[in-house]
Symmetry: C2
Subunit: 312 residues, 2 copies
């Protein structure tokens, strides 16, 4: 294989109650990486589109290429030479797992080109390194589902232990990205290091409820469990119109609504595509009333994760 | 119906990671209530066996009869007269849901005698009142499974929202009650009111893992998820030989081992009755080496909850 073009999906991390432990992949948006062999060893970035010139072009500093370099290092491969073009199809700092989509597309493309020396699960620690570079902490709730698809749970970080759970066929996500920017580092910084035992118990109850609701296709339990008493109350202040948009989403039939990752994107889960689309429209209108433009994406939970678009 | 004799089971609350939100019922031990109609309105206690004289005989102060009186009050029934005999088949302050087994047996017996005016789920708030009287806080993780059977999750206390999840057929519990006493009020008192966000995240991961493991019959995931970083490290200091007993249980094949409720009883989950029995024997021997006598009980998860033993 001399050339490969690969896609990796956006992801919704936290999913209301599951801070740092829940995430799922969506069908769109997603980033695309083109990787072409070249004679000289090492990996260079020849172009990045869609980032407005904001991402580093130095392959030692860009999360996409850093994870590829780490993979080569791990494999003891000092011969490989590659040239990367990254197509950013979502804004940076959007809360939709932008950096993880790029890193996963990159490491997945390279692993495919090399003949799949590692499984997807084995690629996870490399993709997590990309998160450390992009936002200062090697969390797995975006890269996990971006790499493996579906709804992913991070049971433990040390040692790393992730698993997928089945979700209802009719479950649809609406992702709305308002045209404002929140830096993930800042969004983590404003969190408190301690939580009350009472809130921890409440959050645990909702974590248990969301898992059981998803696995049993109990939409009512899913809805009751989409409650975050720890992170959302703090981060919501960074998102103008958060309460209004959430209210309108619920009023239009969403099972629940919260912040996607560190925000400012907001997500909902709904039963059925039609409801999810109406919810998205209503959310966008509410942002628009406050003079905020937004993009909306509706999709089922993406069960596939990254995929090859082209190769030769 | 003039006479009824009812049984309600012991329960394991918390189940390692699920402080205040998880509980399951076992087949034995359990408490028995005899209720006999009498002409005069009101409820009196005519005898209590097995408590060494420690429980109040005043029906306005004993959890068993208080919940029955509350039920009559709720039903607007001022006519009913009953005489109660309570048979305690487990020690007080054992961590096996002793007070909740009594309260559930009482309220269940009365509801049966009155022709089931309320469903089991509707009886839950009354049984919880018994917990408030017995240990100062109206938690539901013992009375819930004692009343409804199976493995119960308390998603929320306000409003009260509980649900059951399926558990593997081959899952067996070993309950070992060492001959020492811990007061539940004290055991709650030594807990901190705040937990680190890091520990809360870790606990949430294990809560998600235990639910998914039980529902998917994934014994390995159940085992990895039976970890409590919030409560066990604090309460274990109240139980002599805790670490040794836990180690020996795991070494003999238990999936996991932690404190049952507020302790001092310890419980394990195992795959298969034989393993659960070997684990119990090894745990008892370890307590015995330190001069501590104990009782051990092995049973599958009790799916039935309370039951009628006799009536006429």
């Amino acid at each position: 294989m001399n050339y490969i073009k690969a896609f990796a999906p956006a992801t919704v991390a936290n999913v209301a109650c599951g801070f740092d432990i829940f995430g799922f992949a969506v069908d769109e948006p997603g980033d695309v990486v083109e990787l072409r062999r070249r004679a000289e060893p090492g990996i260079v970035i020849s172009d990045i589109t869609g980032d407005g010139g904001r991402l580093p072009r130095d392959s030692a500093r860009n999360a996409v290429t850093v994870v590829m370099l780490r993979l080569l290092e791990h494999l003891g491969n000092t011969e490989f030479g590659g040239e990367v073009i990254l197509h950013k199809n979502m804004p940076l700092g959007s809360g939709m797992g932008s950096s993880s989509a790029s890193a996963v597309a990159g490491v997945y493309a390279l692993n495919e080109m090399l003949g799949q020396p590692l499984t997807r699960q084995q690629l996870l620690p490399f993709a997590m390194e990309g998160e450390r570079i992009a936002c200062g902490s090697a969390h797995a709730d975006n890269v996990g589902p971006a790499l493996m698809g579906g709804f992913l749970v991070v049971r433990s970080y040390q040692p790393l232990d992730v698993f997928q759970i089945p979700v209802p066929e009719e479950l649809y996500c609406t992702l709305v990205n308002p045209d404002i920017e929140v830096n993930t580092k800042d969004a983590r910084f404003i969190l408190r290091n301690e939580v009350s035992l009472k809130n921890a118990i409440s959050q645990m109850g909702n974590v248990a409820g969301l898992i059981a609701g998803l696995m049993q296709e109990d939409y009512d339990l899913i809805s009751r469990s989409m409650v975050d008493v720890i992170v959302e109350p703090i981060r919501a202040i960074l998102i103008p119109e958060f309460n209004e948009v959430k209210q309108v989403a619920i009023a239009h039939g969403a099972l629940g609504c919260s912040i996607s990752g560190a925000g400012p994107s907001m997500f909902t889960l709904s039963k059925g595509r039609e409801t999810a689309e109406q919810v998205g429209k209503a959310m966008q209108e509410t942002f628009a009333t406050a003079g905020i433009e937004s993009n909306a994406y509706v999709s089922a939970i993406n069960r596939q994760g990254p995929k090859v678009l082209e190769f030769n």
